[in-house]
Symmetry: C2
Subunit: 659 residues, 2 copies
Amino acid sequence: MNGPTSTCRVTFLPSGRKVLATPGTLLIRAAREAGLHINASCGGTGVCGKCRIRVEQGSVVGGIGERLSPAEREQGYRQACTALVEGDVVVRIEEAGGLLGGQLNSGVPERHRARMHFFDISELRETGIFLPPVEKFFLELPRPDYGDRQADAGRLLRGLAEQYDERHIVINYPILRRLRRALREDDFRVTVTLERPVNKRFRSRVLHIQPGNWTERNFGIAVDIGTTSIYAQLLDKHSGAVLAERSEYNRQLSYGEDVISRMIVAEKPEGLAQMHDLVAASINGLIDAMLADRHIGRDEITSITLAGNTAMTHLFLELEPHNIRRSPYTPVSTMFPPIRATELGLHLGDHCMALLYPAVSSYVGGDIVAGVMGSGMYRTDKLTLFIDIGTNAEIVIGNREWLACAACSAGPAFEGGGIQHGMRAGEGAIDDFSLDPVSLEPMIMTIGGKPAVGICGSGLLIIIASLFECGVLDERGRYRRDLACDRIRPGRSGHEYVLVRAEQTGIERDIVLTEVDIDNFLRAKGAIYAGVTTLLHEVGLAVADLEQVILAGAFGSYIDLDSAISVGLLPEMAAERCLYVGNGSLMGCRMSELSNHIRRDVVQATQRMTSFELSEVPSYKDQYVAALFLPHTDAALFPKAAERRRLLHALHASGRRND
Amino acid sequence: MNGPTSTCRVTFLPSGRKVLATPGTLLIRAAREAGLHINASCGGTGVCGKCRIRVEQGSVVGGIGERLSPAEREQGYRQACTALVEGDVVVRIEEAGGLLGGQLNSGVPERHRARMHFFDISELRETGIFLPPVEKFFLELPRPDYGDRQADAGRLLRGLAEQYDERHIVINYPILRRLRRALREDDFRVTVTLERPVNKRFRSRVLHIQPGNWTERNFGIAVDIGTTSIYAQLLDKHSGAVLAERSEYNRQLSYGEDVISRMIVAEKPEGLAQMHDLVAASINGLIDAMLADRHIGRDEITSITLAGNTAMTHLFLELEPHNIRRSPYTPVSTMFPPIRATELGLHLGDHCMALLYPAVSSYVGGDIVAGVMGSGMYRTDKLTLFIDIGTNAEIVIGNREWLACAACSAGPAFEGGGIQHGMRAGEGAIDDFSLDPVSLEPMIMTIGGKPAVGICGSGLLIIIASLFECGVLDERGRYRRDLACDRIRPGRSGHEYVLVRAEQTGIERDIVLTEVDIDNFLRAKGAIYAGVTTLLHEVGLAVADLEQVILAGAFGSYIDLDSAISVGLLPEMAAERCLYVGNGSLMGCRMSELSNHIRRDVVQATQRMTSFELSEVPSYKDQYVAALFLPHTDAALFPKAAERRRLLHALHASGRRND
C-alpha cells in the first residue's frame, strides 16, 4: 500500500483560480483542471514554446526548453507543457489575448466526467443475495453403522439437507465414482462443491468432493471477452474480493480487427476451431497468470463466468456464427447451458463450470446484458439510458419494469477508425484540447506528454465540440470559410483544421482534422443519438423523460460530458445524473459469480429486454438525419449548450472588436 | 411363422387318463403330464428298461431298446422314455406294483406351475402412461425472417412448446454446436430427441437432433445384468414391441461364479476397470447382435435401461464395491443419475442415455426393484409376496401402500450349489421325478432325455418333496432307516438315496442324494420361508394374510408349486394365486423404457421399500430354526400337504399289506 498522497495547491494568476494537484502533475494539465486555457499547439512537447508561464511563488520541476532564454528562465518563466508540480506554487499565465486575456481564459469549459459507480458487495450481503452459484459446504457425517447403513450418496445428501437445508441435488457420475474413498479419507468430513440451478425449482448438482474442510478456498473467475481485449478477474467467492485482474489482446486480432472478418474465417474449414482456440488461449493466459500471482490452484476455481458480444460468444463456444452476419441475423442461441470448463478448452479443473451470459439478439450480446446487470440498471426505478460505446454502440433504455435495446451502427470513429489521423488511446494521442475563444489558438495535450501522433476518440469529441462552440465549425460540420484563422485550409478531404504542425509532431506531417473526418464523427454520434430517440419514441417517451445515463466501456471513462452534449452525442443532462460503470460486462460477470440471485435475474431481465432492429423502425431514418447536425436540427433539445455557444461567440466578437 | 401345431390325444390304460401332446413329445413326459407314474430309473435313456409300456392303438416313433425282445416289440411293447408321440395313441402302462398298480398310479401328484404374467402394453396405452423417457418429436419450424428472427435454439424450444406443450427444456451443448446446420439441412424440418426428467418439475433435455422426420425410428434397449447371465431386449419405443431378445453369460464369470469373488477382484489395482470392461463387453455383444438382427443403426437407440443387483450395478458403473461386502454393508449409492451410454463404454450413440434402476440396499438391488415394478406389485391392492430365487433369494412383501424387503442368504442350492450331484439346468440334468408310493421305485426324467449327469434345482425340489411325501424322508430330512428300500444306503455324507445307478448314468457312477445335500436344501428353503414369516411378523401380519405370490427369476418358471409347498419353501396357497413373471428385472427395464411414469414411480416405490437386515431382526433366528424341518415345525401351517402325505402313506401301507 502507498502512504497518503500529498497534494499541492496550484494558484493561477491573473484569475486567481486554484486547484489541488498531485506532485508530478503537468502544469498544463493542472490549468486544464482549473478550466484555464494556455496556448499550446505542439501537444506538450515543449517545441512551440507558446505555453510559457511565470512561476511567482514556489517552484516547479522541468519546463525549461530551447524556446526560453537564460534571462527568461532566471525570471521564472517555464513551459507549462513540460513543467511538473512539486509543491504549492503560484504561476501567472501569459496573456497573449491582450487586455481581455484573463477574462477570456475563464471561458474555457470545465471537464465533467461521469461519476464512477462501484460494485457494492456489502449491498449483496445486506440484501442476503451473496450466494455464489457454485458454493462449498463442509459436512461432518456420521459413520455408517448397524443402525444407519444408508448408502454413501444418500448419506451425503442427507447431510446437505439436514445441515444446510440444501435439497433436490444430483450427484454427478464422476463424483459417485470417487465418493466412497473421499468420504473415508478424513473420517466422513468432506467439502462438497454444489452448483445451484438458475431457477430454484430445478436441481442442484454436486460437482466436486474433497476430504476435509476447504470451504474457505472457493475461487471464481470473471471474464469479459471483448473483440479487441479480454479482461479477467480472479475472485474470492468467500469474501467477494477481487484478488487479481489482468487483460490482454484477444489473440483473434491476428485474423482481423472487426467481428465480421473473424466470422468469415470461422466459416472456413477448421476456421471455427481456430477462432475458438485463439480466444481460449487468450483466456488461459490470463487464468494462468492470475493463479500464479495469487498461488491459487487450478482445482480451487469452481466456476468461471464469461460475457461477450453474440459473435464473440459464438466463436468461443464453437457455435456456427454464419447467420449472425446474414439477414435476418439469427444467432444459434441466445441462452447457453452451463458447460464444463474443460469442454471449452480452459485450463481449469474437471469440476469447474463455465457460465455464459445470455444475449438478447445477434447485435445485443451478453456483454451488454452483463452491463445492464452489473450497473444495476435492471432494478432501478429511474428511467435510464445505458450506452456502451465500442466499435459498435449498444444502447438500452428502461428500468426495472421494462428494457428496450438496440445496436447502433456507429462505426469505429470513437476508436479512431475512419478518421484521417485517428488512433487508439495510446502515447502521443491527442486526448484533450481547448480553443481560446478570441485568438482561436489551441491548447493541445497528448497522452504521456509525447509529441502528437494522432487523435484518440475522447480527443476527437473534445476537438469537434470546441471547434463548434467557438464557431469554427458550423451546424453542418463545415469549417467557416470566412474566419480569419490560418489553421483552416482547403485539403484533399474538404477543408481541414491544422491541429499540430508537422515540425511539432512525432510523425513529421501536419496533424489535421478534415471535414470528411467530421462527417464520419457526425454519422457515429448521429446513429447513437437517433438510436436513443427512436427507442424512446417507440415506447412513447422523449429524451426529457430520461432520469439517468449510464456509460460503460473504455470510452465511457474518458468522455467529457459537456463536449458529448455540445455535439449532440448525449442528451442534455446534469453531470451528476451520469454514471460510469467502467467495464460493465466484467462487473456483471463478477456479480454473477458472487450471487446466484443475479443469475436468475439475468434470465428474467433478458426476457424483459425487447430488441429493436433500428434499420427496420420507420422513424429511425428521420431521427438519424436530424441527428447529423451539430448538435441537432432541433436545437431546442440542447438549450444550455446553445446558451454557452452564444456566450463564446460574443466573447470572440468582443475580442475581435478590441484588436 | 409356423402353421398351427397339431396335437395328439394320448390315452393311458388302465386308468383311462388322457392328455393332449404335441408330436415329438416323449411318452414318459406325456404320462407325467397325465399325473401317471411309470418306473424309469435310468433317467430316460432306455438302459434300465423298466419303463416299458404297450401300444394298443395307433403308433409311436422309437422306444425300441435292447431290453425288449423281438417278440415283445411285435406285441407293441415300447420303452416310454425313448418313444415319441406322433399321433393319437392308446398305451397301457405295465403294472409293476401288483393288483393295486392302477390305483397307485393315480397317486402321482400333478404338476402345478405358476401362471405366467405377461407384460401388457395396451394397459400402458389405456392408462395414458405409454410415454417413453426418451422420445422423438418432429417439428416443422417457420424459417427466420424479419418479423421473426428468434435464435435457432429459441425457435426450437418455441416449436416444442407450441406443437407439443413440452416446456422447461435444456439443449445439451453438443446439440447447440450442430443446431444451425441441422435446422437448415431440411428447411427447418427436424426430429428432436428429448429426455424427460424423472420428476416433472425438473427439466427435459434435448439429446439429439436430426434433419427430417425420424420419429418412427426410436428404439431402446432393456438389460438385466445377472451375476451369471445377461439378458437384453431390443425395443421399438414407437409400438412398444420387443424386436429382438438375446442373452449370454456374464463374462465376469471367468473371475468367479459368485458376486463376492468379483468384488474381491474389483479391489485390486485395475480390478474394478477389468470387471466393468467384462460386463460392458457382454452387453455390447448383445447389443451388436440385436442391432444386426434387425438392421437398426446404433444411433437409433435413444436410451438403454439396465438393472442388476447392487454389486453388479456397482461393478458396471465402476463404483467401488468395497463396503458392500463389509459390515455394515453400505453401497456407494442406491440411486444413479442418467449417464451417457458412451461414458459406460457401451457401443451406442453419443446422445444415448443409460438409465440405471435404483437399488434399496446392498442386498436388495435394482433387479428386485425392477421386478417389483415389472410385476406391477407396487400398484396392487393385494398383499403380495414377491420372491426372486437365484444365488440369493430376495423377497418383497407388501402392496401399493407399503413394501418391506429382505435378502435371504439361501445359498446356491437352487442352482445346484452345495449338492453332491447338483448342476445347473442343462442336458442330462434330472428335472422331474416321481416315486411309486407302494414300490418306492422312481420315475426319473432328464433335460433333453440324455443319460443323467446330475440334479438341477427344480429337480432337487421335486425329488425331496416326493421322498418326503412318500415317507422315505422324515421331517428332519433323514432317510428312514427302517424302510425296505434297496436304494437307501449309508454313504460318506450320512445315508443316501440312489437316484440313478452308475451304469445308467452319463458319468459312470451312482447319482445319489445325500443327507448332507438335504441339509443344504433345508437351510436354503428355511432361510427363504423364515424371511417371509419374519417380514410378515415385523409388519404385524401372518402367512395366512398373503393374497398373492409372484415368482421371478429363471428358477420360478420351473418350480413345481405343490412340491414347493410340500417342503415348506412357499406358503400353502392355491396355484391360481401364484404368478410367474419370468425375468422380472428385464420386464421392469422394458417398462421403464416405455413409460416415464414408471421411472417416476420407481423413485417413489424405492423410497417406500423398507429394507430389513434379517440377521439383525431378533425373531429371525427362531423362525429359521422352525423352518429347517419338512415342511415346518408348525405343521398346522401346511394342512393340505399334511393331508396328502397321510393319503400317500396309507397307500404305501396298504400296498405293503398286499405284498
